[in-house]
Amino acid sequence: MRRGLKSPPGALGRLLLAATLAAAAPLAAALAAGEMPLGAVARGAYVFAAAGCKECHTAKGGKPLAGGRALKTPFGTYYTPNITPDPATGIGKWTAADLKRALRYGIAPDGTHFFPVFPYPSFTFMTDADVDDLYAYLMSVPPVVQRNHRHVIDFPFGFRFLMLGWNRLFLKTGPYVPDPARSAEWNRGAYLVIALGHCGECHSPRGFFGQLKLNAALSGNAAGPEGGSVPNITPDPETGIGKWSDKDITYLLETGQTPDGDDVGDGMQEVVDASTSKLTPADRAAIAVYLKSLPPIRHQVRKSETKG
């Protein structure tokens, strides 16, 4: 029975991994100059894919990672910044420590706070090693000169210092600490879901202040990004994915197709394209193991029409 499964995702996974790595190839010049070790850039390319950075930091039809994508939220419209290594308009002047502080604490190199539309409450759980590799990769992509678009935020949420209080109340900082009572595969899955994949940013309901409701993590969000509802991915058999097999989960993450033969649809399709389809089959399997192990939460996400 396994024969049919084993070869295609394996080969496809390798192909996609190779494609991911090939995307980093034009940067060989920087490497040849001895600026950074190749291993770090290649590993960073994988971290970058698993974290799905490209989706938000690239505008529709825009240059990769130059930012400018509008993210509409209940607090206003945020425009993602340029994360190419252009020194003037991007993050070219950032050090590895700057990136670590941004991801771990949501603080920019100039000391100001990011808004949590940037999912640092998830990325905070990244390991130091992954952040360092990601830094090596980001510094190796072609710089793009593109100024950041100002956010358009409703009063009074635009004051960045407010985030100090928000972080005190809601930010639980990482890095991820593996649970020794669980298998290595489970811990890898947890890390991919919680930290890199930042799945909860869309799949978990949010409270009044836009904070993730961690006691209801991954149980779905009726008011998801861009007006859509995001499904419950805890293993509740009725309202979640309790009836799905591990293969149903890994196949969806690889292909974007649901167990009933439908396509995942807009938002998740982007995630599949930029992120989960580029993971190794072993990592997709780890995600499935972790998701299936979660406490099932009964939460019927209200069916709502996506904006049309």
């Binding site: 049919g4 499964l5 080969a11 509802s229 974007g256 197709q257 167990p259 649809g265």
Partner: protein, 157 residues
Amino acid sequence: MRRLIAAIAGTFAVLVAGWALAAPQSAEEMANIIKYRQGLMKANAEHARDIGMILKGEVPFDARHIREHAEAILAMSKLIIQCFPKGSDSAAGKTRAKDEIWTHWDKFMADAVALEKETEKLIEVTKTGNMSDITTQMVIVGKNSCGDCHDEFRKGE
């Protein structure tokens, strides 16, 4: 002479087809068409699901089965355009079809043609029996044909 007859017959066929498309249809007919096309779409989803079961290794079938499913999807894909006459919208019945279908009809038609083309490619690649290549093409069918059209023209649940 034979050519003339063919030309006349051709013209006649075009006129009849045009009349059929333009003919006013009753509310009941519209509601029925919605029901009918939902069956067609459901059938395609079932075929896609079965292809998925094969690719996941949940059933012991091979590329030949996938080809037959793909043939079925191809056959259904050729009927899609006719299943969306003007007026078969949410005013006529319970449907997730967006009004954009009729305001962007050319794009909608292009999407339906894309489904045919990509499914034809899927049929071709099943002949190689290479499951990795089949998966790759199945992703394209699901994403670029089903997914893109649904994102544009189908309301969320």
